[in-house]
Symmetry: C2
Subunit: 337 residues, 2 copies
Amino acid sequence: MTVPTTPRAVTRADVARYAGVSTSVVSYVVHDGPRPVAAETAARVREAIRVLGYRPNASAQALRTGSSKMLGLIVPELDNPFWAELAVEVTHVAAARGYDVLLANSDGDNGQERERLRTLSARQVDGIIVTSIQTHPDLSTVTDPGIPMVLLNTFFEVPHYVSIGVDAFRGAHEGTRHLVEHGYDSIGLVMGHAGAMELREQGWMRALRDAGRTDGPIVRCDFTRQGGHEAGLRMFGAGSGPRAVFVSSDMQAVGVMRALYELGLRVPEDVAIVSFDGAAEADYTNPQLTTVRQPIEAMARAAVERVLGTDDTDGGHGGLMPPELVLGASCGCSVRR
Amino acid sequence: MTVPTTPRAVTRADVARYAGVSTSVVSYVVHDGPRPVAAETAARVREAIRVLGYRPNASAQALRTGSSKMLGLIVPELDNPFWAELAVEVTHVAAARGYDVLLANSDGDNGQERERLRTLSARQVDGIIVTSIQTHPDLSTVTDPGIPMVLLNTFFEVPHYVSIGVDAFRGAHEGTRHLVEHGYDSIGLVMGHAGAMELREQGWMRALRDAGRTDGPIVRCDFTRQGGHEAGLRMFGAGSGPRAVFVSSDMQAVGVMRALYELGLRVPEDVAIVSFDGAAEADYTNPQLTTVRQPIEAMARAAVERVLGTDDTDGGHGGLMPPELVLGASCGCSVRR
């Protein structure tokens, strides 16, 4: 009986021998530097790589250079368009700097998030960007305390961590104030389950009080289309809902609009809506949502630059970026982009 | 002048020494096997890992075992909800088998797709799943011809590759036949730019001819919400559009519905719609889209199992799975889920 043997992997030395060059030249061709190689020689090396089936070894390279040229990114729900758009922006910014992104999905679950943090840090990524739905993410499973880490999409600064996000209080305040300025007599809130008195809720409430209004009704639900649908039925089903509503995410607003459609209520004629996030889906609801847009590109860029240490800040703890109120037609403005 | 030194990395041997165990025991704790470790000993090892800041080295492990426990996944547009849902399913199935997914975005660009294939294969992933918008993806940049590769979301079998996808001809045929059965006199097609006479177009045309109908109008556009919006304005703007339309993707159908909304045309009273893909966004249009749903979970599972070689098929070249017509209200059926 013969014992099957694993075929030996093709090495850089094999390629060098086949092409009649030094192993350094093979390396220069594979990594496009650091020294130039004559076009004809490079072609011979590439032919050798092809013929022998040589695979340059990123794992070995990571061991040698200490850099995997890879960033880890944890997102809670990739099938939420807002997170998907943020993840795409992170991959774009990282690719422009020569980095691949190892993307992990935590399913919005605390245990999954800890587990993904553990496996990403074991892969010697050059840094980890964590977008969490937890108010205080548990980072204790990171096996290497020295690995650069950035918290993305936080609404406030987390002690000891670089945290980048949007000024949610200000966004909710501006969105609600816009509804106040339309003159609606009662303005409700559809709010995702979050920590006690979350910043969007505070912004909504402050805008009402600044205008001398009483608080409108609040319905709490999941941060999903389905959650918004259920909240919409609860808030408007009995025929006594408010004239306008601020909704804590686009996804929920899409669900609220489904509920209003089922109830035969028109947007904005019967109920005006302003939502929060500014994902592309919000541009294509009928009518188009007026929404508080998070600066997705700027947040992604800041996160990648901070985790790679290529930004020119003074090494502070990140910061909150201003949101932008994007006018659609759901608030009652006739503007359509 | 002193030369700064790079701090030496903490090794498994350091951990073993600190915890008073063998390096094998450290390995068993880190990798949760293959041998059991007494709870008290394991706690001591974990404490040593924490105190010393030891980071188990996946790169070194990949070199030793030949497996990185990592799959590569290339998607064209992560911010298209259909691709995002497919990517999430792949990460779920892979995670259940102990694999992380290195996700790369090709931006629907041929050159980007080739470049991502090159970098993924250089990372010694255990396999690559390619979802391409190209009819015939260019796989020549894969540096290792031996790396397992699966084409996902193809509409036909690609020679020499395992290709998994949906039977698009059948789906388009069923979707269009459903509109025929509603009795609409003319049924148009909004079709994404694709290869000559793509299978969805063939299915639409065959269903019309099977029913003895003449072909309705065709408008071609990008596979985006914006493309669908422009196509809808072109098809219905002059007031002479067809009574019903089959649309080649949910994203485009969302754009068509925006155009109809702007034109003051009602769905389904003025124009009936059936679309293709079955992403979650299609469930929340008003009215809900009737759509030909691709079997996202089954496709993701088949792709992961084939690329890991853990399926129980005979090693054939994949296959086309049946789609499912999901009835909403946009076709004229009163059904609402």
